[in-house]
Amino acid sequence: MATVAPEGAPQAGGRPGATRLLDVANAAGVSLRTASRVLNEDPRVAAVTRQRVREAMLDLSFQPDAMARSLRAGTDTAIGFVVESIADPFFAEVIDAVELEMSRHGRSVLVTSTRRDGGWERDVIGRMLQRRVAGLLLCPTGDTHTWLDPGRVPIVLVDRPAPGLAADLVEIDDHRAAFDAVAHLIAHGHQRIAYVGDTPAIPTSAARLRGYRDALAHHQLEVDEHLVHCDGATSQAAAHAVSALIGGRRPPTAILSATTRASLGVVPALHAARRTDIAVVAFGDFPMADALQPAVTVVDHPGHEIGRVAAARLLARLAQPGLPAERIQVPARLIERGSGELGP
């Protein structure tokens, strides 16, 4: 039962019993119009008056309409994006594209990260859903996602599958891209090719490592396990891996750096050791890669395109919730810049 407002008195939030703008105006000793001007930050109101009205608003716990509306529960236009790490250059690119695409459709994007902790992932997704996001883009971390219900909120997976979750997936063919990168180095005469990357517990890293091994096998080259470093989760760790590789008894003549974070360690480490004669193909482009000497050849992990396609897919799903789950592959291409074309 709503209380009846006095005639001609517009209510702030339309909530029964709430402080009305008229109450504020009366308390401040100004007209309703002046109070409304203060609310709308009209510059024509004198500073003293503005102050008096603001104080009255606070005294009476007045809630401007926008806030009142927002504090009521309800799904709105924002979508959530859960990534592994916000600061990673690859995800920064994906986020940028998602924001661009969503802003074109009048939607905002809230980003949060799992920090590679399956328990934390579950927690942050819970908080996102509590905040009533309209849909979710997810780059999954945990081992299982059976607890997540795509019927409750539209979900599009980004970059990697989520075990136990039948949802749309936008990805690249990691195996193929790594295979091609290694084949490129072999074509330039390399036989001792090192791998520096992340743990194969991550599906994309596992696929890249398989691509590396398969390319060597395809060219009748043996994998020297001393040249395989899967401990390069951080740039520092990848830099250490490079020191170990070039300090070893039989150093490599080329390196496949399998993640952007690894490359941010591998490339400076080679420069610091003055070993830029070692060929490099980096998985994922990174800032300044083309300003270095030699410029760094990369497998372009197209974060922008992945973000754009994933956002478009989520928008399609929001418009048409019944769409069947799809697996969409975005092409990744090799950009020759110099470091990957060096001979042994």
């Binding site: 926008a66 924001e99 949060t112 328990g119 300044m288 270095l292």
Partner: protein, 340 residues
């Protein structure tokens, strides 16, 4: 002070697991629970009531709004804020402000509507007066840029001092014609850096021709192309002070492509690969991770005790890292026909 993260490290579990133990989550095994309790005792850890109340309620997230997550400076600051807050048992929700004129207000209000416990924001627009009613209900800390049209708590870096230091450094290597390079923006950091540049020009008796201030465009790439053209003029500057990270990245690339790496350069803010480039890039280092940590500290103080008096303004020092490009001597006047 012992943090939840310290407990986690000693117990050999994640911070999340520690927070679960605090909250008597039944999903933690007795053995893990015991290990966490042992670590807490060993470290004399007192659970932070704030973090506990966060965990228990819906107000478990802090909002963070930055101009552009792809900017290496904000990426590092974001990462440090996240690590810090996650260590305190809180989640972070991030949004960027960089798209369109009205985007700051609508993006921030979208964030504030979500009952966040606090907000850390690096603003992009020229006026933040619209945040006044929100600030009454949500604790806020402004980072990197002071708010305008609004009184608030902010943590910034010494833009003016850093710019002065950079230009004085170039002057000490014999440069008399030093350009200021930037993009046109309402953002206050650029204006303070320009002020610092002007002080140093006056203090060191450098050429103060107005056309040495080069702010030719809004996008860093376009501005860099214009800057390179400017370097071909007969009265070209012999050194450049570049005022932002994105500007420096674009300019380094443009100088390399134009074969103009003899031009001396100091950038404000460290750039990726700076040490591996030839010449390696001299910068004023800002320490974005530190900025993030201080902002979190201020915000937590604000959340825990909203009424307590709090210093409004915190300015963090910056320092110069000489790597090569800022120590180049002035080259003789460039002539475009030399290379042909």
């Amino acid at each position: 002070m012992t943090t939840m993260r310290d407990v986690a490290r000693v117990a050999g579990v994640s911070a999340k697991t520690v927070s679960r133990v605090f909250n008597d989550d039944p999903h933690v095994t007795e053995e893990t629970r015991e290990r966490v309790r042992w670590a807490m005792q060993k470290l004399n850890y007192v659970p932070n009531m704030l973090a506990r109340s966060f965990r228990a309620g819906a107000d478990a997230a802090v909002g963070l709004a930055v101009p552009d997550i792809g900017d290496p400076f904000f990426a590092e600051m974001t990462s440090s804020i996240e690590v810090d807050l996650v260590g305190r048992g809180m989640a972070v929700v991030v949004t960027s402000l960089g798209r369109g004129v009205d985007s700051e207000r609508s993006a921030l209000e979208a964030l504030l509507r979500r009952q966040i416990s606090g907000l850390i924001v690096a603003c992009v627009s020229a006026d933040q007066a619209y945040l006044a009613p929100w600030q009454e209900r949500t604790p806020m800390v402004f980072v990197d840029r002071a708010p305008r049209g609004l009184s608030g708590v902010y943590v910034i870096e010494d833009d003016l001092g850093g710019a002065r230091r950079a230009v004085a450094h170039l002057a000490s290597h014999g440069h008399r014609r030093v350009a200021f390079f930037g993009v046109s923006t309402p953002v206050t950091t650029t204006h303070r850096r320009l002020k610092g540049y002007r002080s140093a020009v006056a203090e060191n008796g450098l050429d103060d021709s107005p056309d040495l201030v080069c702010i030719p465009a809004e996008s860093a790439d376009e501005a860099a192309a214009e800057m390179v053209k400017r370097l071909e003029a007969p009265d070209a500057p012999t050194a450049v002070f570049s005022s932002t990270i994105l500007c420096t990245m674009s300019l380094v690339l443009a100088l390399q492509r134009a074969g103009r790496t003899e031009v001396a350069l100091v950038g404000f803010g460290d750039i990726p690969m700076a040490a591996a480039l030839a010449p390696a890039v001299t910068v004023i280092d800002q320490n974005p991770a530190w900025l993030g940590r201080v902002a979190v500290e201020r915000l937590v103080q604000r959340i825990e005790d909203p009424g307590a008096p709090l210093r409004r303004r915190t300015v963090l020092p910056v320092h110069l890292i000489p790597r090569g490009s800022g120590e180049l001597p002035p080259s003789r006047p460039y002539r475009a026909d030399e290379n042909s």
